[in-house]
Amino acid sequence: MTAPEPLAAYARAVAARVPAADRDDIAAELLDHLLTDYERHLDRGIAAADAIAAALACCGPAGQAASGYQQEERRHRRYRLAASAGTSALFLAAVWAALLVLAAPPPARWPLRPQPAGVAATGIVMLTAAVLTAATVTASRMLTSPGRPWTAHPAADVITPILNRATAVSLALATASAGALTGWRAVATAQSWMAIILPCAAAISAATLARLTTHPQDQPLSPQLP
């Protein structure tokens, strides 16, 4: 039996929203479900157009059906997000190491006596970190809706790595700006604030990950009243 185009289009629409590796299997299984339901309706004497509508109604909107598969991907997503945050942290660490080598600051002596230039540089970077933190929290709130955590949002896979990389690049640029404005030696000398940057970046990434991966474990059920 040739699948009616609306049913095939629905299966394709769902499949387009799931990981490419699973796309064909999910589309085939979903199409089999739709066609089976469609045939049942036809057997009951329902007109083809109504049977198509009834079959589609049982699966809900394509985006909602796809989100079920996306929720099942959350464990794999957690690893991908951790890898993304890890590479960002490595990038920041490389920037820090390069700065220390190139600027060759004098050895730190306790107690630390921050120079005004170093304090200014610290302020620039910390301000950038604060703005990035606020942006991360705002983004997570915008993408989270009741009953649907950020992980279930179709755009989560795309947005999160971008956010991680943007965080790393922004902090690196802030470091560069601070160096240009206050002097590289002053920046590199400010060991205290450099020690703050990486924990901040790690905290931002950890908070993002925690928010992305915290949601109810249960699958939705829709019992009907008998």
Binding site: A28, E29, D32, H33, G60, Y69, Q219, S222, P223, L225
Partner: protein
Amino acid sequence: MEADLLRGNLDGLILAVLDDGPRHGYSLIEAIHDRSGGAVTVPAGSVYPAMRRLERAGLVTSEWSDHGGRRRRTYAITPAGREHLAGQRRSWQEVTRVLAAFSLPAPQAQS
């Protein structure tokens, strides 16, 4: 039936139905509906992702076949799935026993 009462039990319902024999997704949804006396209709959007989760966990296996010119995936429970189901059933029996104690008004206290 209250949806909250069944929340979190979808995996167990699926395994319980597959314990009677292999089924494809549509048949499985029908079986859950019939076995619950029509009280539970599980949406397809929940069942198929759950089947994938169960397969990844090694609790079910699947195989593809040709059905009237289209591909059909049939699921079967594994020994690990039966073991998991046994634990789930013990849990259900315990919950049922406890809730049964509250399903009727308490006897009047003797004065």
